[in-house]
Amino acid sequence: MSRVTFLSVCMSVALLFYILEMVRRRRLREEYSILWLCGSLVILILSVKREWLEGLSLAAGIAYPPSFLFLVGILFIILILIHFSIAISKLHQMNKKIAQELALMQQERSSPGGPAAAPDRDTPATDPGDALKQQG
């Protein structure tokens, strides 16, 4: 086992266990851990299966096989970051909506008979465009 193989096996195993432990302790939600787990598993497999790594890097035109591992690592990091950006945007949207609903509710409660309380709100305040944005 070459030194670079040893290093990448150690690091991917450590990452794998760290992520699993965080999920077990509920510090990390399952849906945010799946890409991390996939990434570290792929790197682990490619580190152990030297001939697969060599085949793949040859096919990609990369002369030095271990640098293919870096490519895989960077690819997963990009995927994870995109996933996070989308998740943050969704949370931002939800957070804004909850704050707005709360403000409306407080106003209704503090001024009974006030303008906001008068019309019987029987549909929730939702933006028709949400039908497109929200999925599950």
């Binding site: 077990r24 799946i34 939800m94 029987d122 929730p124 949400d130």
Partner: protein
Amino acid sequence: MLVAIPAYREEKSIGPVVAAIKRKFPYDVLVVNDGSPDGTSAAAKRAGAIVLDLPCNLGIGGAVQTAFLFARESGYDALVRIDGDGQHEIDDIPPVLEPILSGDADASIGSRFLGETEYRVSLPRIFGIRFFRVLVNLITGYRVTDPTSGFFAINRRLIEFYSFHYPSDYPEVDAYILMHRIGARTMEVPVRMHARAEGKSSITTFGALYYMVKVTFSFLINAIRRFG
């Protein structure tokens, strides 16, 4: 006794479902509107349901957990959860509820595959159901025929437990490991299921693979988690 119905964009079907339950049974009906932009909330209110409007879409697990919280706060001793799209037969509510009222089980789950059934399922779905059956049986020892059923009744003990611990998406399979971890007694009861009147399955073909991976993973994680 509370009948809880999570609803997302079901303005056409929710009214008749609520009205039918109200007409046949003396139960309270709660609709958790999961941030639907359409008239789901208004239709449910018109039919006589208690309605909780979530300001944004939490997903099925978050919506159902809101119903558990409501049931816990309001002191209900039993809760039946059914779908708002007309898929579940409301005449099956009493048989599903029966083991809870008699104290024979903590959770009673309606199964499409027990007894005589005319329910047809697509091939990939059958594969998924088989897979989860084996998984549930292997890890928990529960013998289940319909691990993804969303038609169930639970007692006060599980209402309280689920108020704290309930998966946020695809909760049904995961619920088995949660019940197993606290030693809950489960039971399956045969129910009929209809083709959907309106709306579509929350699970798309694209999401099916993710569904399998996510559910299996969180199922296994829950097997080694601490609860308390």
